[in-house]
Amino acid sequence: MSLITDNNLGPDADAVYTSLLDAMQGMDAAQACRFNTRLVLILLNQVGDPSVIREAIRLAHQGINEQ
């Protein structure tokens, strides 16, 4: 399996994105940081496949390097 870069959330994409933002509403930066860390850990385990995770890490990292 390789990393999915096309929309995989279907018509719910907007709602999913909103629920992510809602969850962080009212958090200060430190709390939001903790929240994101926990979410990453939980989703890493859900994805499971190490090659997909490494590909996602590479993609995310690339964006940071470009700035």
């Binding site: 940081c33 903790r34 860390t37 926990r38 850990l41 939980i42 385990n45």
Partner: protein, 540 residues
Amino acid sequence: MSEAGYQPFEVKRVPELSGAPPHRYRVAIIGAGPIGLAAAIDLAQHDIPVVLLSDNNAVSTGSRAICWAKRTLDILDRLGVGERMVAKGVTWQTGRLFHGHDEVFNFDLLPDDGHKMPAFINLQQYHVENFLVERAKEFSDLIDLRFSNRVVSHEADDSGVRLTIDTDDGAYEITADYVMACDGAGSPTRKRMGLSFEGQSFEERFLIADIEMHEDPFPEAGRPERWFWFKPPFHEGQSALLHKQPDNIYRIDLQLGPDADPELEKQPDRVLPRIRQVVGDKPFKLDWVSVYRFRCARLKQFVHGRLLFVGDSAHVVSPFGARGGNGGIHDVDNLCWKLAAILKGTAAPTLLHSYEEERGHGADENIRHSAGATRFMSPVSEVERMYRDEVLDLAADLPFARSLINSGRLSTPCALTGMSLQTTDEESTDSTDFKPASSVGCVAPDLPINSEQWLLPLLGRAFVVLVVDAQTPADLGALPGVSVVSIKASEVATRRYGKGVFLIRPDQHIAARWPADHADVQAISRAMKQALGAGQGLAA
């Protein structure tokens, strides 16, 4: 420890300083710690005479290496001290992991049954050394034990290694075909050669304290536990470990942080209050205290002509995972049968390349695991610390997070799959006959043969053709120095092996395997030649 344990070993005047004619030695071993002693016994069991040179005349001070893992116990059982170690040692049962005040989870440390040896025992290094010295003395015609014989220089060439040795009676020289440098992390041999010892240093300082305490700190008396704390409430911001050794000795490890002053932290007025916070008001006395920093490093090459580095002289790791002492014993297990085969002329000296290949892989694996544990315990940045803390927080409820907690990945044998000495499965092999636990390159899994006998003690020392629930191939008598062990199907045998024919190396690793109808004497002979170094890249 008891005073008896510190009784010095007898120092004898050596024949070289008593007018005896020069003697050419087969193998000289520098260092009589667990690694040097185990190597001497292993070679003696292969009928190779050795001279063992120790720069002191007593066992180690302080408990030092205390955790001995199943594979190491299997090896030490092959060397004749395994049962004694298990009888004296403390077998762990329950592990508990705390984060602050709270227990995050606890786990059973016992492996599935059907193994002669337990998953781990705790036993002080000085007991192990005493057992090994006593065992070595049983080979009085093969092991020449020389305490207080300090090697001060060496000179190696293509034909042998010349050592200059200092004693209280004067200095003398000997020449040996091979020298094993088992002289520890600070190896004088390595330093004399100016070899680079590359790796990573860690800034954190740790305090080890051994205390003697007669009241059991664990909730169920008589059931030893291993307690590990992240952010212990009694020791702000760091980690702590408590576990039990024999003779009512408890080991306490406290992470002190990078700025701790080692001399100050060793003082009883600093140490005692810390320990009271771990064990409460139970009376105890201090047995040994050490403050240390560590690094993960290895020699690029372990084999330097006829000079071989073994154990800590070749590679050092952080203590998390107990991969130092255990890894060194695995080196011995890997090297000694090869050296014996070379000295007996059944293998070419190039067989030593496979020691480099296989144990270099082992050292890298040990360094990787111990560096990973160190990073989890001492995060190097704020964001790493946050991930670590969230893993600990999630672990109370989510099993997946527990598997990310790393307070040391305990030593396990590494697989030698795909390396030069192993014969890859034939493509036509029907894999349904076999089980993953007995893949080529793995240590042969143990199993009970009957109510008194185990499989592993029947393997080792020589090559063995192990036949599991299959017909023994014909004409195996044509293979010199090979014995045959045949076992019937059983629930455990089927679960760990499946069925077929396995070629087992003298270090109990699986060199090749065949489905019953593919195993013939020619195929086994070819695999054995390969396991003795005749394969590609190792040809004499």
